[in-house]
Subunit: 411 residues, 2 copies
């Protein structure tokens, strides 16, 4: 008998009919003898509906109260699934974060999990019950409801799997697994049979929406085996776990495209020590995450500093940068919105040289100008003009994944 | 400075625009220097929508999970109102039942309040904040969410007012107060300036929907002064409190009509001791509330037993009664669905004779046949054919409240 944590995303529980289908799938797994903890997201569209209500009442809705509001989405899904499982004759109990409890800090809207008490879930399982848990939410030391950030029901599932030492954490979604690229953009994209935590993290961080970044991080830390699969089909999904040597035979596992980035350039700054701190200190203080940073070579003692932020942070970032630019005597501030960040990811890059060079050549052949470059041990990212994003992605997928050098994927 | 508990019903918070209007009203009261605790219902229609979702998943939705589901309605309203008040610059904090805490038994769907801890609300008020509380919900000893029954946000408000020793509990609704009769049926109905707890309880129990029965009971027990008024106008409402001698000058304070009753008759039962227990024992065991009971005079040693139940309990009651009728050798079971229960209520009945006689004469003059009669110290109820219910109500209102004998109402 295995202990399995299943997580169903918003489209998987997006209607009464879908909830019935999820219940059938849970029952199937139960019939195979598994102990089951089922984490659910809000019904598709519900979280956005609730955020919209808040915004109609306030330009900057109070974060504590916004969490009280939006956490109801998962509460509704959890109750509905439990009602259905009970109706099918399977004793079930739902849990909210404060009941479990999933303890977090007090950063409303993006709280971090501090600990997960699994006693109540464990007792429910020992009593032969199915446990259904509302995803995305936590409770802070004062007993206030928090939320963990968009897509964080994955995180709830992984955290529970870690706390319960689950044998497997299944992430059910509306795609059949992790693909070499977004199939909506790259028709030749293929489902991967396996991918390493490291690669998955890079891909999640680079705009592949199939798994939330923090949840992969947590899965790696506690070595929780993940399977990403579709709740709409019985197809095998993608296994996410520790990488091994054989996975390094594959040069590139995936190509990602992030179209939610904006680029800001502070031009003509006097090049002296402490400059970066002056610029990025206030931005960090405002809680804005800066992604790529490039400082151009300085010729005349002045330099250009270019960086990217998420599109929805652009306005706030620009306000800060314009103020700072005045203080440090910069010649001007420019921005480009949106830009496209295209990345290739693969464990194989650790051991194979020349991957970046190939990437640049492919883009050059397509006459796509590279505006920024950033690399890590297992990925290369470039920023290009937004209108070339999809073309760049397809060209790179053709070059690295279109042929015979794709040992690890199955369709 | 007064401590005021305000309660806003579903139509009062039924839309974003309505929530804005409620926030303005709360702010007005705050500006007058009041400490404020605001209890909210779910947005109009939301509770029904959630119940309907549950019923699409199960014929008999699990009660614990149904409470997890439907309690989200008040959670959403509370958060939205708090967000609005914060946006207007008034520090506000929302509370759910488990945060306060409002402790109940474990009877899901109709839990009874055992205790209300007011410390957290008190601290919030001391810190200069407005407290917004989700109505209708509680938490049981296991930490599970309960609900207190339909209309029970009134109860939440009164319980908090009692626990906090509030100076006033204002019940905001979509009518301007308590009327001598339902103005939709009786055009001449007038708003009462004052009404006693006893009269209000009779009227609430008899189908006047403006205040939930249990909340009036609780208000009386803890002597919480209530005001019922409209959130859509600035008109003075109706004050509900201890009755006094002057209120007894009014013979009849109100006329009510309950069209949600069904009548069941067990005919030709052998008249012997223990009969009533045989019939009503199993009905009580099934949790069905029987309202009026009449046993006709027995001539030939056989008798007819007639009683009323709520319409939505009719089917279950009939199943039980038919089984019992067979066991006790009754000659048959008849039912009438619906019937109309028309009642007159007034403290003055305690000290004035002949009120019931006048009532019967008025109905007789209208050629309305009385099928059942029940009386208490301050009310007389009759059951009549459903089609005469509204006519009976109007005739009785004309007779008792149409003229000069109505000292206590204002318009």
């Amino acid at each position: 008998m295995s202990l399995v944590v299943q997580k169903y995303g918003g489209t998987s529980v997006g209607s009464i009919e879908r909830i019935k289908a999820v219940a059938e799938r849970v029952v199937e797994s139960r019939k195979r003898g598994n102990d089951l903890v089922v984490v659910v997201s809000a019904m598709a569209g519900e979280t956005n509906r609730l955020f919209k209500l808040a915004q109609e009442l306030s330009e900057m809705p109070n974060p504590r109260e916004t969490d009280v509001l939006v956490s109801t989405g998962e509460q509704v899904s959890a109750a509905l699934l439990a009602i259905r499982l009970e109706a099918l004759g399977y004793p079930t109990v739902s849990f909210l974060a404060h009941q479990l409890r999933i303890a977090t800090d007090s950063n409303h809207g993006r709280a971090r999990i501090r600990s997960v008490e699994s006693d109540r879930v464990r007792r429910a399982l020992d009593d032969g019950m199915i446990a259904v848990v509302a995803g995305y939410q936590g409770v802070d030391p004062a007993g206030d409801i928090t939320t963990l950030g968009r897509g964080a029901s994955d995180l709830t599932a992984v955290a529970l799997a870690a706390a319960l030492h689950a044998d497997l954490c299944e992430i059910y979604t509306d795609v059949e697994g992790v693909y070499t690229a977004d199939p909506n953009i790259v028709p030749g994209a293929r489902k991967l049979a396996r991918i390493s935590y490291d690669e998955m993290m890079e891909m999640a961080g680079l705009g592949a929406k199939v798994l939330q970044l923090r949840s992969v991080e947590l899965a790696q830390r506690y070595n929780v085996p993940l399977v990403v699969r579709s709740s709409f089909s019985s197809a095998e999904g993608t296994w996410v776990g520790q990488g091994d040597r054989s996975m390094e035979d594959v040069l590139v596992s995936g190509v990602t495209l992030d179209q939610n980035q904006s680029k800001i350039t502070i031009a003509g700054v006097e090049d002296r020590p402490g400059l970066a701190a002056k610029i990025f200190g206030p931005i960090a203080d405002a809680g804005i995450v800066v992604d790529m940073i490039i400082q151009n070579a300085s010729a005349d003692g002045r330099t250009d500093m270019t960086f990217t932020v998420a599109r929805d942070e652009l306005r706030r970032a620009l306000d800060i940068v314009k103020r700072v630019a005045g203080e440090i005597g910069a010649q001007g501030v420019r921005h480009e919105d949106p830009v496209a960040k295209v990345s290739i990811v693969g464990l194989g890059m650790r051991t194979h040289a020349g991957v970046a060079a190939t990437m640049f050549r492919v883009l050059s052949d397509e006459r796509i100008n590279i505006e920024m470059i950033a690399t890590s041990e297992i990925k290369v990212s470039v920023v290009v003009n937004a209108k070339y994003g999809e073309l760049a992605m397809r060209a790179l997928h053709d070059a690295f994944l279109g042929g015979a050098n794709t040992a690890s994927e199955t369709v």
